[in-house]
Structure formats: structure tokens, C-alpha cells
């Protein structure tokens, strides 16, 4: 076991606790999203394979896998930070963290780090299971890693905002069902936006989730709806914006310190 210096022990402990928290309930936090993604894969590939034309030389089932991976990574990164915070707030045990000398930045990094780990673990598990059934190329591994990390970080950050803002589980469910789900489902997980009418193509381009999925998919096939560089710029810009907002909320003690 490596040794952590006293200076970083606080942030390391919180990160470790957050990782252990989801690991202890891994049926719910890891196995369940993997199973859901595989069911989507099974049903959509069975129904649409050969009927939906996406990219040249890319079968629909293969096209679907990176989208499902990214969708699950984003949802789980969001779920990790948001559910940890709302549970701790409702149960009252957030006080154990608020009483510590951890700075708002350390708190953010530890929560975010754990959410990225969960997102990546879910994505990797879906990949490892699906490559048994589908031939999935990897053209640019670098782009895959960049978008996986940036996507999980973006949604992990979004989860911190939701976790701080929401005061009850009901509000969190609304956030998840009315914001995260529509943005994910309308982002091109199941289709290429080129198959949409031009109006909906234009609308899709206002959805940041589209860029995360499109850029991620580029890493697998070397093909995408828009340039991966554009996607990267959009994702990083959103990540910077949400990080700034989150740090501002944490620094001011918004809804955490009265």
C-alpha cells in the first residue's frame, strides 16, 4: 500500500470513502447500469440492425455500443455525486464532512474523482461485455480516453450542483428525469443526427451531450457527425463553466453553511 502524506490525507480519505460508498452497493451502482445498457443493446440491435443506416461500413450494433457506453458513464458519474450529496444532506451526515478542515476545492476534487471512477468502471464493464458479441474497432484510443474523462467530469460536476441544490429526493428525481434523461436520449446515442430533419439537427447541436457522445464515438470509428476538436472545445467549455459555478457555490456555502 502506498503512503499518503498528511497534507493529502484528507482529500484522499474522502475520495476513498466515496469510492467505497458506491463499491459497497455495486449491484446497484455498477452491475445494474451495465445490465440496462446490454438490454438496450440487445433490443435495439435486434430491432434496428440492417434497417438504420448510420456511417459507411459501420454496423448499427457497433455504432450503438459507444453511445450506450457514454450514456451510462454520464448517468453514473452524475448519480454518484448527486446521490451521495443528497443522501448525506437528508440523513444529516454531511455534517461530518462540513466539520473537517477540507477546503471547498478538496471537497470538490474528492467527490468528482470518485464519480469519474464510477463512470469509467461502468463504461469499461459495458465495453468488456459487449466486445464478446460485437466486433468493435478502436481507431483513436486517445480521443476515447479524453471524452470519457471529460464527459464523466462534466456530469460529475453537474451532479455536485444538483446535490447541493436539491433538498429532497423528489427534486433530485426531477433533475434526473427532466434534465439528464432527455438530454441523453436526444443526444445521438441511438442515431446519427444526420438522419434527423434539419431543424432537429440544429436543435441537437445545442445539446452538450451530443458532443460528448459524438467525440467519444470518433475514437472508435474515426467518423463523427462533427469534428472531434469542436466537440472537445464544447465539452471543455461546459466543464469549465460548471466547475466555476460549482466552486462558487461551494465557496459561498450555498445551501450547505447557513
Amino acid at each position: 500500500m502506498f503512503k499518503v502524506s498528511a497534507q493529502y490525507r484528507g482529500i484522499w480519505t474522502l475520495f476513498k470513502k466515496e469510492v467505497l460508498r458506491f463499491w459497497r452497493v455495486s449491484f446497484q451502482t455498477l452491475a445494474s447500469p451495465v445490465l440496462t445498457a446490454l438490454l438496450y443493446l440487445l433490443i435495439f440491435s435486434h430491432v434496428l440492425e440492417g434497417r438504420v443506416h448510420v456511417y459507411e461500413d459501420v454496423p448499427y450494433t457497433a455504432f450503438l455500443i459507444p453511445g450506450l457506453m457514454m450514456m451510462s458513464m454520464l448517468q453514473n458519474a452524475f448519480a454518484n455525486t448527486s446521490s451521495s450529496l443528497i443522501q448525506s444532506k437528508v440523513m444529516g451526515n454531511l455534517v461530518f464532512i462540513l466539520l473537517t478542515p477540507l477546503s471547498y476545492l478538496q471537497l470538490f476534487v474528492a467527490f468528482l474523482g470518485a464519480s469519474i471512477i464510477r463512470g469509467l468502471a461502468v463504461g469499461l464493464a459495458i465495453y468488456m461485455v459487449s466486445v464478446w458479441f460485437v466486433d468493435l474497432p478502436i481507431v483513436h484510443v486517445g480521443w476515447i480516453l479524453v471524452f470519457a474523462l471529460a464527459g464523466c467530469a462534466l456530469l460529475g460536476t453537474f451532479g455536485v450542483i444538483a446535490g447541493i441544490w436539491a433538498e429532497k429526493f423528489d427534486q433530485m428525481a426531477a433533475f434526473q428525469n427532466f434534465v439528464i434523461m432527455p438530454l441523453t436520449f436526444l443526444s445521438g446515442v441511438f442515431y446519427s443526427i444526420h438522419s434527423l430533419p434539419s431543424f432537429w439537427q440544429a436543435v441537437s447541436k445545442f445539446n452538450p451531450f451530443f458532443y460528448m457522445i459524438d467525440g467519444f464515438r470518433y475514437g472508435f470509428f474515426g467518423k463523427s457527425d462533427v469534428s472531434p476538436w469542436l466537440s472537445l472545445v464544447v465539452v471543455i467549455a461546459f466543464l469549465a463553466l460548471l466547475t466555476w459555478l460549482t466552486l462558487k457555490m461551494l465557496k459561498s456555502g450555498y445551501k450547505l453553511r447557513g
Binding site: 498528511a6 484528507g10 440523513m91 466539520l99 478542515p101 456555502g253
Partner: protein
């Protein structure tokens, strides 16, 4: 002179129009065993939450071991261990894990494990150390909550009603351990509903009412200053009207009279003789902190 454990200067806290604290000044020296008493809503927990940085003051400042709780919050929180009033717990972990996490947040690593084990032992949690927090009884959860505040071995320990609703065994165990920590130099700040606890444990007491400190002195001085002795009489008949101004409490034919000085006992007995009221039983009782509390904070309040 050593830096005070806690110094509170001109603290005000407003929640909208509600003025929860109206300007509190208080200094608690290192090594003190200090009680903060007051009825519900007096502002005790608000003051503690401000000390811990869970709330931000409207005006004024608080220092813990010389460190400002706002501008030097990392240093000030290192010095402070707070036992919250509510019975809160993290349902994902067992007792030992929680304590090690708590110590870890404060930068304490494996070198602190022996202390964590000592706290577990001292609070009677040894056989529950590997039990999930969710499975603990209420009393055991309370012990774990206290242990969590002590996990990083803070020099200043704040206990916000730690014995509310707990059995005698735990109270004795807790106070035994806390007294030992106090002897070893830890500063203890306590709020409690059990005034006899404050009286026996604490050297100094602050009484709060409606967001202000209304009395601040050593326990001995408060007892001396605010009340004398009580005379409890069981009479054959009713209390003569001349003794009514001294009446503190009456039920049936048992009456408790407040005596400012012992000479008043002679007066009371002569009045009874004069009225022809016989005395069936008589007891002279020392005033306690409850008497002081009621005379300062007012009747009908609970500590």
C-alpha cells in the same frame, strides 16, 4: 497567558428577521470544563454551529485556539471536535471505518489508529467496532457520534447535549472518559438539559436566554450568588399567608420555601407556631443549579 481555547467577540446571527444571537462575548480558557445552558431556542446550538463553521456570523468573530473560524477555518477546525445534537450516521460503513475516515479527513493516518481504538474501547464500542452504523441501537449510535468527534484528538471538544435520551450507564462511561480528557488538558464545552451534570462537572457556566448571555460565572459563585437554601416542610394544615412571599413550590401539604439566609428559617418556624400550624416533617436542602437557572432564565423554561 496562554491563548484562549475559544474567544467569541460581538457575535450576532440573524436568520431573516429572527435575531438568534444578539451580540455574544465569551472567552473560554484552555483546560476549562465549561457549560452552556439555556432554554430551547436560547441560541446555544447556533453559537456552537458558528464555532464549528457550519453557520456564518452576521457580525462578530470567533477564534478557536487563536485561529479565526472564517479566515483560518482549516486551522480552527483542526482544533475542534464537535458532537452534533442530532443522531446522524453514515449507513454505508462500520464504526471503525467511520472513525478512521473521520480522523483521515483531519490528516491523521495509521499513526492515529491506536487512539481510535482507545476511543472505541473507552466508549464501550469494542464489540460493535465492525458493526454497520445502521445496525446500532440508539445508545450505540450516540457513542459512535461522540467517538467521531474525538477521532482526530482535538484539544477543544464541544458536546451539544450528548446525553439527551441516553441511559445512566452510558452517561457515567461518557463522563468518566470526558473527565479524563479534561484532566489531560482538553477543553470541554458542554450543553446539556441535565443541570446536575453541569453542576457536578463544569467549573464555569454561561446561561443564555433569547440570544444573549444572561449569567457567566463559576458554578460555585452562581450557586452562592443567586440562591441560598431551600426549606421543605410537610405541614398539618396550609401555609400561613405571611410565608407566601418565600414560597417556591407547593404541592398538597408539602411546601418548599426559598431562604436567602439561614436566619429566615427561624422566622418561618415562628410564623408557623404563631398560626398554629404543626410541622410533620422538615428538610433543609442546598440550592442547586436548577434553582439558579430558574431564577435567572425564568420559570417555565427547560435547560
Amino acid at each position: 497567558m496562554a491563548i484562549p481555547a475559544v474567544s467569541i467577540a460581538g457575535i450576532q446571527k440573524h436568520f431573516g428577521v429572527l435575531k438568534a444571537l444578539k451580540g455574544v462575548d465569551l472567552t473560554i480558557q484552555q483546560g476549562e470544563f465549561f457549560a452552556l445552558l439555556g432554554p430551547n431556542g436560547a441560541g446555544k446550538s447556533t453559537l456552537i454551529n458558528l464555532m464549528a463553521g457550519l453557520l456564518k456570523p452576521t457580525h462578530g468573530s470567533i477564534r478557536v485556539m487563536g485561529c479565526d473560524v472564517q479566515s483560518q477555518y482549516q486551522q480552527s477546525r483542526q482544533h475542534l471536535g464537535v458532537v452534533p445534537q442530532e443522531l446522524v450516521f453514515d449507513p454505508f460503513f462500520n464504526v471503525r471505518e467511520m472513525l478512521r475516515f473521520q480522523a483521515g479527513y483531519f490528516g491523521r493516518g495509521p499513526e492515529n489508529d491506536a487512539w481510535v481504538d482507545e476511543v472505541i474501547e473507552a466508549l464501550g464500542l469494542a464489540d460493535k467496532a465492525h458493526t454497520n452504523m445502521r445496525r446500532l441501537s440508539g445508545g450505540m449510535k450516540r457513542r459512535a457520534l461522540i467517538a467521531q468527534a474525538l477521532a482526530h484528538r482535538p484539544p477543544v471538544i464541544v458536546l451539544d447535549e450528548p446525553t439527551a435520551g441516553v441511559d445512566v450507564e452510558l452517561r457515567q462511561m461518557l463522563w468518566g472518559f470526558i473527565k479524563r480528557l479534561n484532566r489531560e488538558g482538553h477543553t470541554i464545552i458542554l450543553t446539556t438539559h441535565y443541570l446536575e451534570e453541569a453542576e457536578t462537572l463544569c467549573e464555569r457556566v454561561a446561561m443564555m436566554k433569547a440570544g444573549e448571555i444572561v449569567a457567566l460565572d463559576t458554578t460555585a459563585n452562581l450557586l452562592k450568588q443567586f440562591s441560598g437554601k431551600n426549606l421543605r416542610l410537610k405541614l398539618h394544615g396550609s401555609l400561613p399567608a405571611s410565608l407566601l412571599p418565600m414560597l417556591k413550590h407547593g404541592e398538597g401539604n408539602v411546601f418548599t420555601l426559598a431562604l436567602n439566609e439561614l436566619a429566615q428559617m427561624e422566622y418561618a418556624l415562628s410564623e408557623l407556631r404563631l398560626a398554629g400550624v404543626g410541622v410533620e416533617d422538615m428538610q433543609l436542602i442546598e440550592a442547586d443549579l436548577e434553582d439558579v437557572f430558574l431564577s435567572i432564565v425564568g420559570k417555565g423554561s427547560s435547560a
